[in-house]
């Protein structure tokens, strides 16, 4: 399938890009790496009149540490993240998550900003226009029914990005620039939990994600990302769990974050599982208990190729593995 015609505009600065988005009034999109966008365009999921490229804005490609925070430009490729010594040293789980995205052939193009803005996915939506034409248009495609739930009020497409759970666990914020100026938003609040319009930008705010800001983690921080999928490469996560533990004396759990991707229309924080861990010594029985709790905290829908029950089973297994890794109990 070939791409339909569109205009292509290479912005020289961010103001330029914002003005261009506004001019086209909703029929214009940003292209970052383009690896996910091009497939979506070939499937006719969107038909923009114009794409705006940010390739000529070098400031979006920086990775630096300043005043107790790490700043990552939205146009850094996943390969840049993997190769960054700063990321490897201070944000090891972010490097791990970047390394788990797609394949080497995509990671050299795909950007961290693109991964954060990744649209939700569904087995009834991410298909060719020919495949989709055999059914009524679904809610996410602008129709009036959800083929997963057979109901008409909402879309339950799955949040499937690998980087956001780790970034949320690290307490990251994102900087957005738009017609009303710039703002810094905690990444968690960037997501709407609405399957059809899953983030602030996709709701049509006319904004552009420019930078990710992450408070430098303390030396007691242990973090990891565990991704589950049927093949060990290329695939989106069926389920991914980012775990961050602040451990005292290597074992006593002072603080914890558990963020799950692939289990709902936004990244999900396992709040009760976290409660279970707090002020306790990390040992196998506690890990098993927390894993069971986390499995009951997610409510996956059948928008991917495995059943919700399967995902809940897997959530416990993956969380136990992630806690053992972050706690240094296993490699």
């Amino acid at each position: 399938m070939r791409l339909l015609e569109f205009d292509y505009f290479e912005a020289e600065n961010l103001e330029d890009a914002v003005a261009h988005l506004k001019k086209y009034n909703g029929s214009c999109q940003i292209i970052a790496g383009g690896t996910d966008l091009l497939t979506a365009l070939k499937q006719r999921l969107y038909t923009p009149a114009c794409l705006v490229s940010l390739d000529n804005i070098p400031s979006l490609k920086n990775i630096k540490e300043e005043n107790g925070a790490i700043f990552i430009g939205a146009m850094c490729t996943l390969e840049d993240i993997i190769n960054s010594e700063l990321v490897a040293k201070k944000l090891p789980a972010l490097k791990q998550a970047a390394w788990e995205v797609g394949s080497p052939l995509l990671r050299s193009l795909a950007t961290i900003g693109g991964n954060i803005c990744l649209n939700t996915r569904c087995r009834f939506y991410n298909q060719s226009s020919f495949w989709r034409s055999s059914r009524e248009k679904c809610f996410k495609a602008g129709g009036s029914i959800c083929h997963v739930t057979n109901k008409q009020e909402s879309c339950v497409a799955t949040f499937s990005a690998d980087m956001p759970p780790v970034l949320i666990a690290y307490g990251a914020s994102v900087r957005l620039i738009g017609p009303k100026g710039t703002r810094l938003l905690p990444l968690r609040q960037f997501y709407t939990d609405n399957g059809r319009f899953p983030n602030e930008i996709l709701t049509g705010s006319g904004e552009i994600l420019t930078e990710i800001e992450i408070p430098t983690p303390s030396s007691q921080t242990n973090s990891t990302y565990c991704k589950f999928r049927l093949r060990n490469s290329i695939d989106f996560p069926l389920l991914g769990i980012a775990v961050l533990l602040i451990l005292d004396k290597g074992k006593f759990c002072k603080d914890a974050r558990i963020i799950i991707t692939g289990a709902g229309s936004a990244p999900i924080e396992a709040v009760e599982a976290r409660e279970k861990l707090l002020q306790q010594e990390l040992e196998p029985q506690l890990i098993d208990a927390a894993a069971q709790i986390a499995a009951s905290e997610i409510h996956p829908m059948r928008s991917s190729f495995v059943s919700p029950r399967y995902k809940r089973e897997i959530a416990g297994v993956v969380l136990a593995e992630a806690l053992e890794k972050a706690g240094g109990i296993r490699e």
Partner: protein, 152 residues
């Protein structure tokens, strides 16, 4: 919308006027006649369309050609010199790492990039490097053997 771009393809400068919606894969195959680069899934999942962009492997189906403007592109046609196969191509031949041949251009280019960055890769590193390239004939064993045979 048309745009003029400049590519350095296998060391040779090419100035082309293309439609902005053309992928690099389409420009290589259709405008330049370099059909060694294959169109497989056309969605960035199979690796058949792999080329080297500034020495790094990329899926050319998932890259707009306008984004490659001013950059160096290596395709499989750029490897053999003076009728002589490149040592990687020879190794693939000798080890039976080629059957139908559809994945071979991608596998060979990924190998070239890997060995340039890391002349002494472990088997695990070899598997990681080819993780984006799908082969439906060999079961990968001979491909990994061919790459290992190039490691001193």
């Amino acid at each position: 919308m048309k745009k003029k771009i400049r590519l350095i393809v296998n060391g040779e400068e090419k100035v082309l006027t293309i439609d902005v919606q053309q992928t690099l894969l389409e420009v290589l195959r259709e405008d330049l006649g370099l059909t060694g680069t294959k169109k497989g899934c056309n969605q960035g999942e199979c690796g058949a369309c792999t080329v080297l962009l500034e020495g790094k492997p990329v899926s050319s189906c998932s890259l707009l050609a306008v984004k490659a403007d001013g950059k160096a592109v290596t395709t499989i046609e750029g490897l053999a010199k003076g009728g002589q196969l490149h040592p990687i191509q020879q190794a693939f031949n000798e080890k039976g790492a080629i059957q139908c041949g559809f994945c071979s251009p991608g596998m060979i280019l990924v190998t070239k990039s890997l060995l340039e960055q890391n002349p002494n890769p472990t088997t695990a590193e070899i598997k990681e490097a080819i993780a984006g390239n799908i082969c439906r004939c060999t079961g990968y064993v001979q491909i990994i053997e061919a790459i290992r045979s190039l490691v001193p």
